[in-house]
Symmetry: D2
Amino acid sequence: MQSLNNTKVKKQNIGHNTIVKCNDVNIGEGFCTVIAGPCAIENEKMAVQTAKEVEAKGAEIFRSSVFKPRTSPYSFQGYGTNGIEIFSSIRSETNLLLESEVLSCEHLEILYDHIDLVRIGSRNMDNYELLKEVGKTNKPVILKRGMSSTIEEFLLAAEYIISNGNERVILCERGIRTFETYTRNTLDILAIPALKELTHLPVIVDPSHSCGRRSLVPAASRAAIAAGADGIIIEVHPNPGSAISDGDQSINFEVFNNLMKDLYRLSEVMNKKWAVKNRKMTI
Amino acid sequence: MQSLNNTKVKKQNIGHNTIVKCNDVNIGEGFCTVIAGPCAIENEKMAVQTAKEVEAKGAEIFRSSVFKPRTSPYSFQGYGTNGIEIFSSIRSETNLLLESEVLSCEHLEILYDHIDLVRIGSRNMDNYELLKEVGKTNKPVILKRGMSSTIEEFLLAAEYIISNGNERVILCERGIRTFETYTRNTLDILAIPALKELTHLPVIVDPSHSCGRRSLVPAASRAAIAAGADGIIIEVHPNPGSAISDGDQSINFEVFNNLMKDLYRLSEVMNKKWAVKNRKMTI
Amino acid sequence: MQSLNNTKVKKQNIGHNTIVKCNDVNIGEGFCTVIAGPCAIENEKMAVQTAKEVEAKGAEIFRSSVFKPRTSPYSFQGYGTNGIEIFSSIRSETNLLLESEVLSCEHLEILYDHIDLVRIGSRNMDNYELLKEVGKTNKPVILKRGMSSTIEEFLLAAEYIISNGNERVILCERGIRTFETYTRNTLDILAIPALKELTHLPVIVDPSHSCGRRSLVPAASRAAIAAGADGIIIEVHPNPGSAISDGDQSINFEVFNNLMKDLYRLSEVMNKKWAVKNRKMTI
Amino acid sequence: MQSLNNTKVKKQNIGHNTIVKCNDVNIGEGFCTVIAGPCAIENEKMAVQTAKEVEAKGAEIFRSSVFKPRTSPYSFQGYGTNGIEIFSSIRSETNLLLESEVLSCEHLEILYDHIDLVRIGSRNMDNYELLKEVGKTNKPVILKRGMSSTIEEFLLAAEYIISNGNERVILCERGIRTFETYTRNTLDILAIPALKELTHLPVIVDPSHSCGRRSLVPAASRAAIAAGADGIIIEVHPNPGSAISDGDQSINFEVFNNLMKDLYRLSEVMNKKWAVKNRKMTI
């Protein structure tokens, strides 16, 4: 890809794999990092309960979404700024890092001091003005691939962040649009090794949005690690059937527990360490 | 589409076709409106020259892009705020209305008093925070369909604008992503009659971004009108071969002139009036 | 497209537009030819009734499908060889030419003496062994584009026929697969001018399979002619609501009648003659 | 999927997972089977050399293609019937089973007595007349998914075979068409768990055609097994750089050797036995 010739995302221009360090958590080549939590924070109790559970099973980062980009303006738009208080509860009850999606520069400002990682969702991968703003911070950024973005466009979106000064970018494959309707999206599993040969940045996978069906999520997660992904961001809910948003693709605690065991074994095959070096699986 | 049941975009909920009036220009069912101009304003001379030419051939609105969303951060990002002075020159030399793309709330504020219509590009169709802001104004909005947005999502994006108070929305089909590579995008011509049966809003087509090749643009434009579109937004450049951006898909003055003659005849077949009621084609 | 360099489909290698003549019917540049009839022949009465009706309104060729490729083996597979008797009735009651789909070399042999044009459906565009067989005959062939074939592959499939000796190939765009679900397929309207600049072969459009919804079929048909297509192949049924197959996309006689009037006017704008030179529209 | 309600492919209608036995090779749930060999047989020497090599590393079945469906009629169309003699050489030098693609009923007849498994390629998944013929035999059939076939259509194509009497069908996911161009196709990894919950039939993956680039093939293969596939069909060539067809996606012996070691370890994680029960990896 000629368009990458003089970019900072290109592997050959850097010469090493970037490990994004976030406190004691390593994200990148050689590690397997699990980000887990509900699609959206619904209330304090479920958030804390889920956080404790996923931490106990080996997750390092909590998915703490309070601003939700929804297709319809009449759908639940997230818990909003009130969610910030809940962040404190999670921090007092667990050692998890917190990540959350921002949809605008205003959101970024509101959440900045309360989260450890910023997430840019698929719908905003092409929102270059937001990318530039995030690029001016030094917070780690999880950048999700657009629903129909090419690998090249995905990398150039990351370049918008890096070229503004922030090199702590984590790429997230989350499924692309195709004609297939049995799954919500088509997980582009080949994007993982493709990105790994093109860029030095960490690559993780969102199996939940890829699948849209919880029954497929464990297989998608395993495939991601076997294909070389450096981790996953996965939706876990105490009771997926009653979730306010995306319940169909959320897994419950038991399924998550079994999945983590599989991922642990797969990480060994793939020569990947668990994200925190000295942590042992308690499962 | 159940998701449209209680929406304001739905045709059956409104009972009439919306004509967006912008000074003396009508955009909507029964009219054919042509928006023309270069992909990007490059300098005053070419902008004014192009504006005078497209006005003479029957265009009513000038495409006046000064902020350009480019895949690479290193590509030309547009003439920027300096373009505002050029707007004055165009207004003093022609009677054309001006439309321009905004990529952020900041752009919206900067351009608001200088343009007649706001354009939201494909990359920002899912930028709901921007849609909400545009929804709080009463400026006509050209909303382009996302590169891989469904018709349903397109209509719900419009609903984000309308539900915030601004009903002057013009939908623009501009091609979707498919496996075909001969064309830049695949013009979804069926989206025109589909939108026409689902919504009361005006529907226009961008043949230039659909095609990506100037040789196909006239056919795409004719097809759009024959399928029922209420107008087109088309890239015209004095010398496409030397354009700073998207020259491959821009047509020159002669091709534009011939195309306008075809569109005039097609509008008659389709029982569409030219956008300004008493205007006569001078061609 | 380099792959076309030494092919017989390439326009520049031939230097003229091919008009496929079939008795007194011309198919190709400068003409507009309408092929109409039901998705499948259901019985003699409906076949003859439909044939007389579409002939009266200006169609020149009757869509006479007796072998149906169906996604499920348990769906109606067509009237089969018994349909051949019905062909005789249509011939005795009208002057229409007959075309029919073949799914195999065996079908080709069975139908060969009874039809004027052979149709290869989308599902068999890549069935090269069948293409070679058809290429050894001198019967005009309507070759439909595969559901996800590129324009290049489409042309090379035609080359399989021509390189075996049969130059009477008519290309048919019929919609491609995309993520959009409101329509059955996405009519690739740009394929028409694209094919017109790449090849000398006639290009027609199947609006019925493109749309999958009869309400969109007239707009799709008009767009096809305005984009430069040399004709359409369209599903017409006396009572679409009770059709055995594809009723949702079939139009009734009244809608067909109105559409033909539109196409006649559009053909004039496009400088296209009606397929039979001295025929006048009776509508 | 309602269309599967009364089908023989549906898991719930059968109540067990089908293991296709082919001599002493098991293909299906609980096993991992590797089919390997060149894209096309080019000559006896390379065929035998490759066969011995892949057998030594754990493959059970040899990919022995002699009829090649090529996009252009002027590309190499395969070694043809002369290849049958080479089959004898492979059998005398190895214990591998042989599989080969048939493009027509004629090919099926020619190859029938010389191969152990029949392959129907992507281009012929919709060639229902061929499926019916294969369904009348009792030879195991590897059915590849069409380039843009839905999972539902894929299963109904299998039903065409089974409903004609042959239940020994092995489904093969091989990548689908999307807008992404860095890879030849997009491997639909989610199709594996999706098929596993919908049908009792074995599911394998073709990583070579999915990727189109050999650097991605090992990751694709590992992901396939981790997602639950029952095996892979992979292109291996003594010298991929000089292959007559598809050299870009073929891996050499060394890469194949390393991949097999990975697959062996992954099979253990997935509780899958190697295809031949008592065989031990010699690697």
